[in-house]
């Protein structure tokens, strides 16, 4: 191990030293054990660096240069926040609000939950539902395998806990709003989320990551999602953060027989944002659909890693990711589908399309299929292209000015993903955000073009 690498390890070690907190129930042996194991793992696991395939195109050097502090004065900055500014109009949901990684009960709205539905903070659940937590915690996310998973586990502080009892259908979406408050220090948060859907249960979960200012911070998020037999979860994630934000989301998804997961992942803002999906079919006839959209411009990197494990036969997965890149924006898409030897009749399709608005934007895309079964239907494909001048000309010939024409074409490209969001207020919100961003992009581009001429 090189000296540079050991220095990097020290960064993780320092974070653990400064960040470990007392939890309301320190007598939970399993939790203490997990935290200790995770801490040990930080001393032994390989530190992510560019020579590892998983980190080949995504450097963590920027992260390592930051001196992240744990958030101590939790809520002092909250007084200045008007929650209404961050809520979606006409959105009826069970709502949890987090501020820099800690749940804010007074801003949340989880009263009158239906029978069989538990929605709350992980901290609260340590006291109210320790047995449920002991059963499911750490079952899908192996905190001894990945550095950032270990870091999240070692520094458990708070997170989301959702448990839906067998056969229960949650009547409204569950909405989690992660507010990153702009503080003087560059702060770090480790939301640790656990979603357990029991047999035949149904729910919709929305996660939104926003920031109240342009500050530097790091969200190291970890989701464990367990879908038991015939359970169904629709899961929308919108990451739309400070232009200086670092964001890492690790999602571990475990699917039992005939379960269905439908996910939408939107990466709309941040300096460095990476999302890893690790999905595993534990039994037959499960379905996993993932749609994603990413935008990256000047000084931005967005990265999606998908790891879909068709371990069992008769399962179906479909992943469709689209990216719009501009300025010197960079994107990484690494999608891998593994079809095990006995996973016959697997149906797996992976597609990635990229729209490059500038020559200096860059995408590294790598869709992979690894198939060991012989009776499967699988496909993968990737495209990287520019706006078609014919299309722009056609629109201009109808009186539409170039910036508007380009914007409409970009929105059209993005809509294939956004239209899969069936919740009207959320879809509307995402559209508005896209309009806003693309307005700036096409205006800037037009100015650059004029200068170039």
């Amino acid at each position: 191990m090189s000296a540079a690498n050991e220095q990097s390890r020290q960064w993780f070690e320092d974070l653990v030293k400064s960040g470990q907190v007392a939890l309301p129930s320190d007598k939970l042996d399993w939790l203490d054990a997990a935290r200790q194991q995770a801490h040990q793992a930080i001393n032994t696991l390989p530190v992510p660096y560019r020579k590892q395939e998983e980190w080949r195109y995504t450097s963590i050097d920027g992260l390592l240069r930051q001196d992240f502090q744990p958030v101590n004065e939790q809520f002092t900055a909250l007084h200045a926040v008007d929650l209404e500014d961050w809520l979606l109009p006409d959105m009826d949901s069970y709502r949890l609000v987090f501020a820099n990684g800690r749940c804010v009960p007074e801003m949340s709205d989880i009263e009158e939950l239906p029978e069989g539905v538990r929605i709350g903070s992980l901290r609260a659940a340590l006291t109210t539902d320790p047995d449920l937590l002991a059963t499911w915690f750490g079952q899908t996310a192996n905190h001894q395998q990945h550095m950032f998973t270990a870091l999240n586990t070692a520094l458990i502080n708070d997170g989301v806990f959702v448990h839906v009892a067998p056969g229960v259908k949650v009547d409204k979406p569950i909405e989690v709003l992660y507010l990153s408050l702009a503080l003087e220090d560059a702060v770090i948060a480790h939301p640790r989320n656990l979603v357990v859907m029991e047999n035949g249960s149904q729910a919709t979960l929305i996660e939104r990551f926003v920031s109240t200012g342009d500050s530097v911070y790091f969200n190291n998020v970890l989701n464990e999602i367990i879908l038991n037999e015939s359970a169904s979860l629709t899961h929308h994630r919108v990451q739309d953060e400070s232009p200086q934000a670092y964001h890492l989301s690790s999602l571990f998804l475990s699917q039992q027989k005939q379960s269905e997961y439908r996910g939408t992942a939107l990466a709309l803002g941040g300096a460095w944002a990476r999302t890893d999906y690790k999905a595993r079919f534990q039994d037959e006839e499960a379905v996993c659909t993932l749609n994603g959209l990413y935008l990256a411009g000047e000084k931005q990197l967005t990265d999606f890693h998908l790891d879909i494990d068709h371990a069992k036969p008769h399962c179906a997965s479909e992943e469709n990711f689209r990216g719009i890149l501009y300025g010197k924006g960079r994107a990484v898409f690494d999608g891998k589908i593994l079809v095990a030897k006995d996973a016959q009749k697997s149906d797996a399709h992976l597609h990635n399309a990229n729209l490059m608005l500038t020559r200096s934007a860059e995408v590294d895309t790598k869709p992979q299929l690894e198939i060991y079964a012989d009776d499967v239907k699988c496909s993968h494909g990737t495209t990287v292209g520019q706006l078609d001048p014919e299309q722009v000309y056609y629109m201009r010939s109808r009186g539409i000015e170039t910036p508007m024409a380009k914007k409409m074409l970009c929105l059209g490209f993005a809509d294939e993903i956004i239209d899969t969001i069936e919740i009207e207020p959320l879809r509307q919100h995402v559209h508005e955000r896209l309009h806003f961003t693309l307005d700036q992009v096409v205006t800037e581009q037009l100015q650059t073009d004029e200068v170039a001429q």
């Binding site: 299309q391 000309y393 056609y394 629109m395 201009r396 010939s397 109808r398 009186g399 409409m408 059209g412």
Partner: protein
């Protein structure tokens, strides 16, 4: 309305139009006929402002202005409309939103108020009915997955909505069956007025059975080689283009 003098145009460095002259008066309907490769579509594209057409000589005056100095969208704002031979597909761009943006962009440029959604809906429904375009197609992406006939009717719908001063129709009749042809012709005839001019670019005479032109021109080898009344179209139909081309060469 439109005055083209000694127009020379190169495409990929190759001369296509070689000294074309054409005068279109206000309120007139002109047909430009000619064999394949004679430069008909080039003329249509040059007028609408498509990239890749290099004007090496000559001038085009539209309503007293140098048309070649205007951007593509400015030409549209000032009333130039080209119904294309191969309408472009815009995946993801909703047909109705596209038309609304187009109409309002033109209205804004003319200093007129934008149409609100209610008025726009009334207008588009009325016009869609006129060109017998299935309303379902209004909710789909522009031209994406449309049949050939549907694309052409969508072009005529756009024309009917935008009410251009100078309507250019490039081979709008090609690939249409007789019913579709009649609908397209009705759309064009409905637009005829003393304030508007229409230029029909066509290979065949049959469109002219439905739209009576005031003038017919024959384009061959990059020039107008003969002009006349509508009887010229019938003559061409009987004798074929070789008759004219031989005359031009001589």
């Amino acid at each position: 309305m439109l005055s083209i003098k000694n127009l020379h145009v190169n495409v990929d460095g190759k001369p296509i139009l070689k000294g074309l002259n054409l005068e279109i008066g206000t309120g007139e309907v002109h047909a430009i006929m000619g064999p394949n490769g004679s430069g008909k579509s080039t003329l249509a594209y040059v007028l609408s402002g498509r990239d890749g057409y290099e004007v090496t000589d000559g001038q085009i005056i539209y309503e007293g202005e140098d048309l070649l100095e205007l951007e593509t969208e400015e030409r549209a704002h000032k009333g130039v409309f080209l119904a294309m031979q191969y309408p472009v597909e815009l995946p993801g761009v909703n047909n109705m939103i596209f038309l609304k943006e187009s109409l309002n962009a033109i209205r804004r440029a003319r200093g007129e108020d934008e149409l609100d959604s209610v008025k726009f809906m009334q207008l588009i429904k009325e016009k869609a009915k006129m060109v017998k375009l299935d309303e379902k197609l209004l909710k789909r992406s522009v031209n994406a997955g449309f049949s050939g006939g549907e694309k052409k009717r969508n072009e005529i719908l756009q024309m009917a909505m935008l009410e251009p001063k100078l309507a250019l129709l490039d081979e709008t009749d090609s690939g249409l069956d007789i019913d579709a042809l009649r609908i397209v012709a009705e759309g064009v005839n409905a637009l005829r007025s003393p304030e508007r001019s229409v230029v029909l670019v066509t290979h065949y005479q049959r469109l002219l059975d439905y739209i009576q032109p005031d003038h017919v021109h024959v384009l061959a080898h990059g020039k107008i080689v003969r002009s006349g009344g509508k009887e010229l179209a019938h003559e061409l139909e009987e004798k074929g283009y070789s008759w004219i081309e031989e005359g031009a060469a001589a």
